[in-house]
Symmetry: C2
Subunit: 384 residues, 2 copies
C-alpha cells in the first residue's frame, strides 16, 4: 500500500535543505492540496506558551479551508515575540505567492530550538526551492525530522478513497500532543466539520495518550486536508475509522522512536470512579521517574506503582489496589502476590494494569516509555 | 555546637545491626525521651498509600504524647496488608516493653523496599539490642540511612535550651515530604500544640519545597519530641525559629545528597496571581525532565522553562514571561534576551527565577536537582 502525504490523489509535496538544521540535512517540507476541494481541520497544543506558527495556523484554519502546509525543522519559531509572528506570517505569504493562493490558506509548522530568531533569509530561499514541488512523500517526511531516528508515514485504504500522512515526534510527548507534527491528507469528499470530528476523536485516544516525559511542546500541531479528488463521500464512521488508524499508526511509531527509549510501557487503570480519574491515575504513574527507571531496569518493583498512584487525584481504596505486570498479578489488595519479584520484564513491551479497588466503572490508559541513560544523554547534550 | 538527637538534654539513643539491610550495615535506631515531659508532634506523608508504621504513628501521636521513636531501614513495611499493621504495632510494643512504657507511646518509622514482609525475627532481636541504648546520636543517624551517602544531623542553640535532630532522605523528595524521615528533639518546655504549629510552619517552607523527582513516599515522617528538661519555656516565635533552622538545615543536606545530583536548582516564580499558583508553576518547571536534563548539561535553554511553565495551572501572560538564570535575564517578554545562550551554568548551584507577567503579588519557590545519568543508574539498579 502507498503511504505518506501523497498516498491520496491530488496532493503534491516539496522538500529542500534550507540550511536551518545545523546538521545540513533537509529541513523544509511543503504539502499542497491540488483540489478540487480544500477542506481542512487541525488540533493544536494546549500549552499556553504557543509558538508563532501555531497561533498563525490556528487562526487561518478556523474557516475550514487550507491549500498548503509549509513546515520547517531546526527552529521552532517559539518565544520570538512580535518578530516571530511576523516571520510565521511571512512564511505563509511567501509560500502562498509562489503557489498563487491566499496567504491565509497556508498553514505553517515549525519544530526545533525555542527562542532563536528565524533565519529568514535561509527560510525564504528555502520556500522558493520547496514550492518547486516534485518531491516524494518520504522526502517531505525526512525533512521534518529532528531527533527522530526514522521517518514516519502511514496509509489507509478506504472504499474508493485513500488517507495518508506523515509525522514527526520523539520526545515531549504529553497529553494534548507532544513535540509532534502530523500532516494527514485524503482524497475523500468530506466537510471541515467531519474532518474536525474525526481528528479530535482520534487524537484523544492516540496522540493524547502518549506521555513520554510529561512535557508538552509549544509547537504541537496535527493538520488534515481533504480534496474530494476521489469523488467518494465516506460516512462519518468510515472517516473516523481511517483517521484513527492513521493516527494510531503514527503514535505507535512515535512511542517506539521516543528519545532514549528501551521499553514501551502501556499503563491501564481500572476500577476508578470515572474515566477521567482513571486517566489521571495512569498519567501519574506514567510520569513517575522512579517507576520509569524501574522499567528501564526490567525491575518488577510494583511498590513504585503504588507509591506513584497514591499521589493521583483519583478516588481509590488504599488497601484494595491490585497491580498486574504483563497480565501476571504482582500486588493484590495492596500486598505482594506470590512470585511478584520473579515476573519477567526483560522484553521491549511492558503491560501494566492497575485496579484502584473502588469497584467503579472508570478506566483509561496511557502509553509511556522507560527513563534511560540515553534519554538523559540526548536531552542534556542537545539544545532543543 | 553539639548536633544530633542527643544535642538536647534528657534523650538517649540506640543503634544496632538487625540484619534487615542486605549490606550488613547498621539498620535500626531508637530515640528515647527521658522526660520529665513527653510532648510530641508529627507530620506525615499525604500519599494515600501509607505504610503501616505511618498509620500507627499518626494514630498514637494524636494525643501529643510520645516516649520513644524506633526506626528501621532496609524494609519500608508498606503494602504488607494486615500483617504489616500487626508488625508495626508489634515493633512499638516490643520497644515499649523493654523501655517500661505503653506501646501507644512508641512511634515507628520504616524505610526501604516496599511490599516485602518485615523479617520480624530479625526486627525483634534488633529491638532487644537497640533498647540497650548507650549509642551516640551519630550512630542512630547512620542506622537510618538507605541510599544516603552521608548522615544528616543538626543542632540549634536556644536561650538556655537546645534543639537537635537527625534525618535521612535522598530521593522521592516531593511536596508533602519525601522518602524522608526526620526526628527532632528538644529540651525546651513546650506544649504539643506549640510543637505542631512550629513543625507544620517549618515543613511547609523546607521539606515541602524539596521536589527532586515529583515522587512522594509512602513512609515520609517528621517527628519532634520535647521533654522540658532545660526548664526553659521559649516563646512560640523562638520555637518556630529554631525548628525552622533545624528543618532548613536537614532539607539542605537532603537536596545536596539527592540521588545522582550534580546540580542544586532553586526555582522561584513571581508575578503570579497567588502564592498557590506561583507554587504550582514552580513545581511544574521543577518536575519537567527536559528542563532537568538541560540543567545537568549546564545548558541555559530557557525555552524549556517556557514550555514547562506554559503547562502549569496558573494564570500567566504568555507574551510577558521573563526568565532569569543566576540573576541574569535570559528571556524578557517571552523572547530571548541578549547573551542568553552564554550564561554560565557550570556551577553546582543554579538559580532560576520566572516572572509570569500578570503583575500579581503571588510568589513561591521550590528546590530541585538536575536529572543525571547517576539518577537513572541508582533508580534502575536499586530496588527501593
Amino acid at each position: 500500500m502507498t503511504i505518506g502525504v501523497l498516498a491520496a490523489q491530488g496532493f503534491a509535496a516539496g522538500a529542500t535543505t534550507a540550511g536551518i538544521k545545523p546538521s545540513g540535512k533537509s529541513d523544509m517540507a511543503l504539502v499542497v492540496n491540488e483540489g478540487p476541494e480544500f477542506n481542512a481541520a487541525g488540533v493544536f497544543t494546549r500549552n499556553r506558551v504557543k509558538a508563532a506558527p501555531v497561533k498563525w495556523s490556528q487562526k487561518i484554519i478556523a474557516d475550514g479551508s487550507l491549500h498548503a502546509l509549509v513546515i520547517n525543522a531546526g527552529n521552532a519559531n517559539a518565544c520570538n515575540g512580535a518578530q516571530g509572528d511576523e516571520d510565521a506570517q511571512a512564511m505563509a505569504e511567501a509560500t502562498a505567492q509562489a503557489l498563487g493562493v491566499d496567504g491565509t490558506d497556508v498553514a505553517v509548522c515549525s519544530t526545533g530550538l525555542i527562542g532563536e530568531p528565524m533565519p529568514m533569509d535561509k527560510v525564504l530561499a528555502g520556500i522558493e526551492s520547496v514550492t518547486k514541488l516534485g518531491a516524494a512523500g518520504n522526502d517531505a517526511a525526512m525533512a521534518i525530522m529532528t531527533t527522530d531516528t526514522v521517518s514516519k508515514e502511514v496509509g489507509v485504504e478506504g472504499n474508493g478513497w485513500t488517507l495518508g500522512g506523515m509525522g514527526k515526534g520523539v520526545g515531549m510527548m504529553a497529553p494534548n500532543l507532544a513535540t509532534m507534527l502530523v500532516c494527514l491528507t485524503t482524497d475523500a469528499k468530506v466537510t471541515p466539520k467531519a474532518l474536525r470530528a474525526a481528528l479530535e476523536a482520534a487524537s484523544a485516544v492516540t496522540f493524547n495518550t502518549l506521555d513520554v516525559d510529561g512535557s508538552t511542546s509549544t509547537n504541537d500541531t496535527v493538520i488534515i486536508m481533504a480534496n474530494g479528488a476521489s469523488g467518494v463521500e465516506p460516512t462519518q464512521e468510515e472517516l473516523n475509522a481511517a483517521v484513527l488508524e492513521a493516527c494510531a499508526g503514527l503514535a505507535d511509531m512515535m512511542q517506539a522512536d521516543a528519545e532514549g527509549v528501551t521499553k514501551r510501557v502501556k499503563i491501564t487503570v481500572e476500577g476508578a470512579d470515572s474515566d477521567a480519574e482513571a486517566l489521571n491515575a495512569a498519567r501519574t504513574i506514567g510520569r513517575d521517574n522512579l517507576f520509569k527507571c524501574a522499567m528501564f531496569g526490567s525491575d518488577p518493583n510494583w511498590g513504585r506503582v503504588l507509591a506513584a498512584v497514591g499521589m493521583a487525584d483519583a478516588a481509590m481504596e488504599p488497601e484494595k489496589i491490585s497491580v498486574f505486570f504483563n497480565d501476571q498479578p504482582v500486588c493484590v489488595n495492596s500486598t505482594s502476590a506470590p512470585g511478584a519479584r520473579d515476573v519477567d520484564l526483560s522484553g521491549e513491551d511492558i503491560d501494566v494494569r492497575v485496579d484502584l479497588g473502588t469497584g467503579g466503572p472508570g478506566s483509561a490508559f496511557v502509553r509511556t516509555t522507560d527513563l534511560s541513560h540515553a534519554y538523559v544523554e540526548i536531552n542534556s547534550a542537545y539544545s532543543s
